[in-house]
């Protein structure tokens, strides 16, 4: 718990110091913070293993090993405590046993917020921004989200892996409303999932020149009793580095890891 507090303070205290120091944030001519650059998730560990907000609400009660918030080096992390409806809980347990059916393992688009909740330190995201949109080009799964920032309405009769994202600026924070999910995605590798009623509100805040605080609230009335909160930071990648290509379908290397019980042989023979 102490570590958790330290982590929380490390995040929040630095954040408030920065706002106090009145460090000039980079801005576009329209006055909004300039989120552009190459960013890498820093804290938060591996999806599914440490998912949860840093205030601990989604960590397991009691055994909540807060080291999970810092990374894998601190031993096994507590599973996130999602509050499932009874029917969804049964489904989640089933999917937990069938992790090989994780759609991302099949190279499908990860959905939201998993697009950003990739393994810490592995897959960066390139942000390109203008007055009308903020585009997220994710290395992982070569996933792309071009988010209009005009607060326009979601379309009708559109159901996507990544849903439909509509953004607006709330002061210096980019707030993105994501709906129109197709109900196929998992939140992580541990069978946590959402269905087509998923609705996400994301908040991107440029804390300082090199740090974006990312927060997501996931609601899904047919799956969760209470909303799922997530929070982690993205750190700017040094300019001498660049985004690489992530080919998944085009060079599948995961199926070999499946056991025959997982259906691995059958899949490999295809």
């Amino acid at each position: 718990m102490k570590v958790l507090k330290e982590t929380l303070c490390a995040l929040l205290c630095i954040g408030s110091l920065n706002s106090l120091s009145a460090q000039a944030l980079p801005r576009l001519p329209d006055g909004h913070p300039d989120l552009q650059g190459l960013w890498l998730k820093s804290a938060g560990g591996f999806q599914g293993l440490f998912i949860g907000s840093l205030d601990g609400t989604n960590f397991a009660a009691g055994g909540g090993r807060a080291g999970g918030a810092r990374g894998a080096g601190r031993g096994p992390a507590a599973p996130p405590r999602y509050q499932y409806t009874p029917e969804a809980e049964a489904e989640r347990q089933d999917r937990l046993r069938r992790g090989y059916e994780d759609p991302e393992a099949r190279c499908h688009l990860p959905g939201v917020p998993r697009a950003l909740d990739q393994p810490g330190g592995l897959y960066p995201v390139q942000i390109i921004q203008d007055q009308k949109s903020v585009a997220l080009l994710h290395e992982a799964m070569h996933d792309v989200r071009i988010i209009p920032t005009d607060n326009s309405p979601h379309p009708r009769n559109y159901w996507a892996w990544d849903g439909d994202s509509r953004g607006r600026w709330d002061g210096d924070t980019l707030v993105v409303d994501v709906a129109n999910f197709n109900g196929r995605t998992w939140l992580d590798m541990a069978g946590n999932f959402v269905d087509e009623n998923e609705h996400v509100v994301e908040r991107f805040s440029l804390v300082d020149r090199d740090t974006i605080l990312y927060e997501a609230t996931v609601t899904d009335p047919t799956v969760f009793v209470t909303p799922v909160q997530m929070r982690f930071t993205l750190k700017r990648v040094p300019p001498e580095q660049q985004i690489l290509e992530y080919s998944c379908l085009e060079g599948e290397r995961s199926l070999q890891h499946y056991t025959d019980e997982d259906g691995g042989r059958k899949r490999r023979e295809k």
Binding site: P29, D143, W159, A160, N182, R184, E250
Partner: protein
């Protein structure tokens, strides 16, 4: 009379200028980004030709008009293959119904991604340039050529460095896989391929695309293709998600997000059977 003289002088000056540089070749001046300098290529663009079927041209087929080659150099419109490579192309052509990597929902590669029958979107800000291709959500981040290529990889979309030559964007592309095809007819390159692309706006809504393709393994000489991208002007037009689903036989199919088959409606048993087998 003075007015007439002035008009005559103006007309003569126009004639003189026109003689120096014929009007039809005077370059179009695109609008600029907010830095006041960088040409603004932003927008959604798509070709209208059918070169994706065969860049060397093809006969008319059911529902598709015949098409000329988009290979502008050599003048005969044929890719200057070496003999072995030509044999490989012919084998690819015969096997195209199953062997085309695009059938497996793979990223299209360069330059094929430009002229597939799907739109692309150019994202831009001062110092940033990227293209998002709707097909298989491929994208390329263009890096300034002030730094060396990230080479010795075999990527589908290659590694791109660019510079501005007046109002033309010139991109240098290497590090591509030899598994990609150039079209549905089995035209191809090796991993040694080096492509120089030129993007140039010829009007407010037209973007000329040229690719000079050099590959000492596959071709006897460099060759060039050229096509035109048209601005997609429908109100509200946007790049939509393009993701493939696997059917029961392991064959992948594009399923539009507007297709209700893409939606699983709280039906967990259906989740297990749909697209996961």
């Amino acid at each position: 009379m003075r007015l007439l003289l002035a008009a005559g002088a103006a007309a003569m000056m126009v004639t003189a200028i026109a003689a120096q540089r014929p009007a039809q070749t005077r370059p179009f001046a695109p609008t600029r980004l907010w830095d006041g300098r960088t040409p603004d290529f932003r927008g959604i663009w798509q070709v209208r030709d059918t070169a994706y079927m065969n860049i060397e041209g093809h006969a008319a087929e059911k529902g598709v008009a015949a098409s000329k080659s988009i290979v502008v150099d050599p003048p005969d419109g044929k890719i200057p293959y070496k003999p072995d490579a030509l044999a490989t192309r012919q084998a690819n052509y015969r096997a195209r119904a199953t062997a085309d990597p695009s059938l497996k929902c793979y990223q299209a590669g360069v330059p094929r991604a430009t002229y597939v029958p799907a739109p692309l979107q150019i994202l831009q800000s001062p110092g940033n340039f990227a293209i998002v291709y709707q097909e298989n959500h491929a994208f390329r981040v263009f890096h300034p050529d002030t730094r060396a290529h990230f080479d010795n990889t075999d990527w589908w979309m290659g590694d791109t460095r660019y510079r501005w030559d007046a109002d033309t964007l010139v991109a240098d592309v290497v590090a591509q896989t030899d598994l990609a095809w150039l079209d549905q007819a089995g035209n191809f390159h090796s991993t040694e391929v080096h492509i120089v692309e030129r993007y140039r706006m010829t009007g407010a809504d037209t973007l000329e695309y040229e690719a000079r393709i050099e590959d000492p393994v596959a071709y006897t000489r460099p060759w060039t293709l050229r096509t035109v991208l048209y601005r997609v002007k429908q109100p509200g037009a946007r790049i939509i998600e393009d993701e493939c689903l696997e059917d029961a036989n392991g064959v992948r199919h594009h399923v539009s997000p507007y297709d209700p088959r893409n939606l699983l409606k709280s039906d967990y048993s259906r989740w297990k059977s749909a697209g996961q087998k």
